[in-house]
Amino acid sequence: MSEPLELSKKYQHMVTQCSRCGFCRAVCPIFDITKNWATNAGGKMVLIKEIIDGKIEPSEGIVKSLLRCTTCMNCTTNCPSGVDPPEVIRATRKDMVNLGYDNMFKAMSDAIAKTGNIYGEEEKYDWGHKNERASYILFVGCVGTYREEESVEETINLLDILGVKFTMIDEVCCSGVLEDVGYQAHEELARHNINEFHRTGAKALITTCPYCYRVFKNHPFYKELNLELKHITQFLAEHDFKVKTDKKVTYHDPCDLGRHEGIYEEPRQIIRKIAPNFVEPERTREHAMCCGAGGGFRGSSPKESITIARTRLRKIMEETGAEILLTECPSCLHNFRNAKLRKWNIEIYNITEFIGKLYKEMDVRENVAA
């Protein structure tokens, strides 16, 4: 039985380091739409400090308030005092659950255990594409499968066109998101995935979801992975493509790919090959504004999550005038697609989805010409 607030107390020095300079206000996606200091990193640091110092008892309201963070790390990047607020918030979320304050993600944890995906979808989707002699495994994850399946289809299609020898497996959720929201990943699910991976005989694992990538790379449950691990943008960065567009294209750095894992160049390498008319948004790379989906926020506050995506999308459109917005994350893609207003002319795709479409168009043109 752990000590109350055991995990938060490890961050006592860090929350004390917060000088309340407020620099996090300039970069927080939730503060941006609420203007409420409590939804911002600095506001949470003083709240957590009061909890650690015993000045305030936890409560349902406080637990709910702690869920309002996408863990995007924009604050961390911008903090001159060396504080990593998402790290602290994750710890306190766990402490609250340990104190008995089950939050709405307990239902998600149960759903994952029961159905193997975060949505509790009973009907398991089978992508097929099982190949005995594949060099690579392609893992797509829950958000792609159950919320953006068309995009995943195009990505699979692209890999086929490029002649990549890959196989898919009987996937279950990486369950990593539970660690962000106060719970734990499911070890038996990790073992299932690892067993399935090893059964294929392939030596490398490619994933389309940056979050799954982070879990496979960093979570102790996947330390027996023993496979070369790549996000799909890393895998395709060195490939050549026979397609191009002269439309104005821009790119949104997913937080899980960019700030969390430092993968900024590879997506851009790919885009520059197929879209010479490429323009960066003002807030880009490690300063990219979050789409609002991460850290469980799309689950706990879906309406605000979509509003954040809408705000980010509006700004990108105003700043770049781009016709196409590319990203490579199923959660960002889903949030942006939900957020886009009909009167906005911008098209939104995952990079691999977009290239797949370009190949299809080229095929059609060639067939018509023939």
Binding site: F23, A38, G61, G82
Partner: protein, 457 residues
């Protein structure tokens, strides 16, 4: 009807909160004062604020106006409870009139955002506090914020042309003009500027704006002793026949912290000066800089470096703007802003060192040397009661030192709560009585940010 319900009726449920998880963050600002407000309101118009303040005045409910909450003196702390009015949602730039050289903004507009918009016309609102990326114009006006360009371009007060204010009895007042000069009636904009939210809630600000100088050049000089740096500063500010646009100092403690926590590289030294000249032609800018560097050279510098490229200049400024927060990586701190006449800057620098040694607490000092405004940051362990006591003694000694040098308790952060006890040290009884009379005349029920500046009645 319950007062809280009256407020909810005015702004709507979504713009009101009395939840503990919201009240706790709003108990804090960047100072060490902590008091819990009873509720928070996010109004969107001056009319809403007027209605709220009218009710508050009738019922004796304290009102605390708040912008970004980056006050370093407890200016936005609800020491007597009450309602915090957070103006962050009032963030529209209402009008930019280049042909009349002014901009009108709502109080929640962020300083840098205003300047980003103004830069499109090659104009600027010069006061640039280190917090400009998050601080609001309303807060800037309430504290007469200074900043790095203060040496040449002054402070917020020099730019406030007009204000719209909800006064403590609830009426909306318009004061000031859209002209560059105005002496019509009492100069109320100047009174409200720097009044730290004790005389009303600012709901609109009209600011004078300047064209951005076409060229600027930055220089950095390091010195082996504080006296040399001090002399370099006062000679530049008074014997050079020019005024640099910037004259900043960073001491050894501050520089060590920056060196250890950022990728910036600075040589070992006792003090570093950052200076800048600006103007219409490169010739002028460089000529002015040469004069300053000659003065520096006469004061035993260890090294001098100049930067003309934007990127290089910005790197030097980044160090200065994050000094406060970088030092806080070492430990908790209290940041003061004692200010003295220019000729006394060396005495202040060495005096601070002596106080630090005497009490055994580390003090990192940096700041606007060019206008005599230093920021000693007193580092201490806030969990150690002995260190807390020492910190209080150090503060007291710092204030006494500044006053003894004919200085002031605060150049730009305001009195708030942090320095309220020391008002008598600087102000004579007659002056304090006049201040109290003004306060009482405008705020007979003492509801507007009560308990600040020691203006009890």
């Amino acid at each position: 009807m319950n007062t809280m319900h009256e407020f909810i009726d005015i702004v709507g449920e979504d713009n009101f909160s009395d939840k503990i998880e919201d009240r706790i963050p709003y108990s804090y600002d960047a100072s060490i004062n902590v008091y819990r407000p009873d509720a928070l309101i996010w109004p969107e118009t001056a009319e809403q604020i007027s209605q709220i303040v009218t009710i508050a005045n009738q019922k004796g409910v304290p009102i605390i106006p708040r912008g970004a909450g980056t006050s370093l003196s407890g200016g936005v702390i609800a020491i007597e409870g009450g309602i915090v009015i957070d103006v962050s949602k009032m963030d529209k730039i209402i009008e930019i009139k280049i042909e009349d050289r002014y901009a009108t903004v709502q109080p929640g507009v962020i300083c840098d955002n205003l300047n980003k918009e103004l830069s499109r016309y090659n104009f600027i609102f010069p006061p640039d506090p280190a917090s400009s990326s998050v601080a609001t114009i309303g807060g800037n006006v309430a504290t007469n914020a200074g900043g790095i360009k203060g040496a040449k371009y002054g402070t917020t007060r020099d730019y406030v042309l007009g204000l719209e204010v909800v006064i403590p009895t609830g009426e909306i007042m318009h004061t000031g003009a859209h002209t560059m000069k105005c002496v019509s009636g009492y100069d109320l904009p100047k009174l409200f500027t720097g009044s730290e939210g004790t005389l009303g809630v600012i709901t609109e600000v009209t600011l004078k704006i300047n064209p951005i100088p076409l060229h600027a050049m930055t220089a950095m000089a390091t010195f082996g002793c504080l006296e040399d740096a001090g002399h370099a500063i006062s000679e530049t500010m008074t014997k050079s026949n020019l005024i640099p646009s910037v004259m900043e100092i960073l001491d050894k403690v501050t520089l060590t912290s920056i060196r250890e926590n950022t990728s910036l590289e600075f040589p070992e030294c006792e003090a570093m000066l950052l200076t800048e000249t600006d103007g219409y032609t490169w010739q002028e800018v460089e000529a002015q800089m040469m004069v300053i560097l000659e003065i520096f050279k006469k004061n035993n510098p260890l090294a001098i470096k100049t930067a003309k490229e934007e990127k290089e200049r910005m790197e030097l400024w980044e160090a200065r703007k994050t000094a406060y927060a970088t030092l806080s990586r070492i430990s908790s701190g209290v940041l003061d802003d004692v200010t003295v006449p220019i000729s006394k800057i060396t005495d202040l620098l060495t005096g601070i060192q002596e106080i630090s040694q005497r009490h055994g607490l580390v003090i990192g000092t940096y700041g606007h040397a060019g206008d005599g405004n230093l920021h000693p940051q007193i580092l201490y362990d806030s969990y150690n009661p002995e260190q807390v006591k020492k910190m209080e003694m150090v503060e007291s000694d710092l204030f006494h030192l500044a006053i003894s040098l004919k200085g002031t308790l605060t150049g730009e952060h305001g009195i708030g709560l942090s320095k309220a006890d020391y008002m008598g040290l600087e102000h004579d009884k007659v002056e304090i009585e006049v201040m109290k009379k003004i306060k009482k005349a405008l705020d007979p029920n003492n509801i507007m940010n009560p308990g600040k500046m020691a203006l009890h009645f």
